[in-house]
């Protein structure tokens, strides 16, 4: 049973073009390790460094997004890392219809869904010049309230995703929703 289950799981991933999958708590150390593994795998498959660099950028922005904002957390309070919290997310990297993609999914607060959706819809409607202008404007401005970075992660994703990106939401529980985004190079 066990091997059969795992075979079925892997076959499903393969059907969807997934070459790399991680589900669990994400940390910066895990990001660095996954980044190195994905870079190595891609360097074997393609000599196009632009693809490798673009995919790496999509990976970093999406995973750091989970690390900073996932609504599924566990506070660890051992003596070395007091108060540090771990954020849960699911990451896949793969290739579909000849296009490489990075996808991430994590829980978000339901109250944040409409703001996120509006923001991503807007980004999807902007052309390269408009994205560049918004990127610089955002980098120059004060970081948005509650942001732990520049607040420009999704703009970076939109700029790097040469073949666009999809996203959606579905119900999780009373207060939270699942959020998923998949960006294509």
């Amino acid at each position: 049973m066990l091997a059969e289950d795992m075979r079925d799981f892997r076959q499903r991933l393969a059907r969807e073009g997934v070459v790399f999958c991680y589900s669990g708590y994400l940390t910066e150390n895990i990001l660095t390790s996954i980044g190195a593994a994905v870079k190595t795998k891609l360097s074997v498959e393609t000599s196009d460094k632009r693809t490798v660099r673009g995919l790496f950028s999509l990976l970093v922005e999406q995973v750091q997004n989970v690390i900073r904002y996932s609504a599924e957390t566990e506070i660890i309070s051992d003596q070395e890392d007091e108060g540090q919290d771990l954020r849960y997310g699911t990451l896949t990297v793969g290739k579909r219809d000849g296009q490489y993609f990075v996808a991430c999914s994590n829980l978000v607060q339901r109250a944040d869904v409409s703001r996120l959706r509006d923001n991503l819809e807007r980004l999807r409607g902007l052309d390269a010049d408009a994205l560049k202008a918004l990127y610089k404007e955002t980098l120059r401005g004060d970081a948005p309230a509650g942001s732990k970075g520049a607040g420009a992660g999704f703009i970076e994703v939109a700029r790097r995703a040469a073949s666009g990106f999809d996203f959606d939401f579905c119900e999780a529980d009373d207060t939270r929703a699942y959020f998923a985004i998949r960006a294509y190079i």
Partner: protein, 127 residues
């Protein structure tokens, strides 16, 4: 005069600020866990130093392999500061290094460099 030297890690760049020579360098990867924590110290000291200069020759090398959007915010702030220092009567040269085949890094340099009004901006291909 002091120097600041920080060795590169997998996700943070080498920093080499030579305040005596007014030569400054950031080189490598930049996607640290906490961008503010990484950059606040050295850039705070750098800004305090630059503000006091007049008639100085200043050179800043950006030699980055990759940087994330949070680091981009720090870089754009640094470009603004360097331009201010140039406008205040210093000769400022900003060198932006990129691999010959890294169009994206080249374009990012151009995007940041096009806003410099007084500081001299140079794109440098590493071949």
């Amino acid at each position: 005069m002091a120097t600041i030297k920080i060795a590169a890690t997998d996700r943070s760049p080498e920093v080499d600020f030579d305040f005596g020579a007014n030569r400054f360098l950031i080189r490598g990867e930049s996607y640290p866990e906490d961008v503010t924590e990484f950059y606040a110290g050295p850039i705070g000291q750098l800004e305090a130093h630059l503000t006091e200069l007049s008639g100085a020759e200043i050179m800043f090398d950006f030699d980055l392999v990759y940087f994330n959007s949070s680091s981009a915010k720090v870089l754009i702030g640094l470009f603004e500061k360097l331009d201010e220092v140039a406008a205040a009567g210093n000769r400022v040269t900003v060198n932006w290094f990129h691999e010959d085949d890294d169009d994206n890094m080249k374009e990012l340099g151009e995007e940041f460099g096009e806003d410099l009004e007084t500081a001299v901006f140079r794109l440098v291909s590493k071949g």
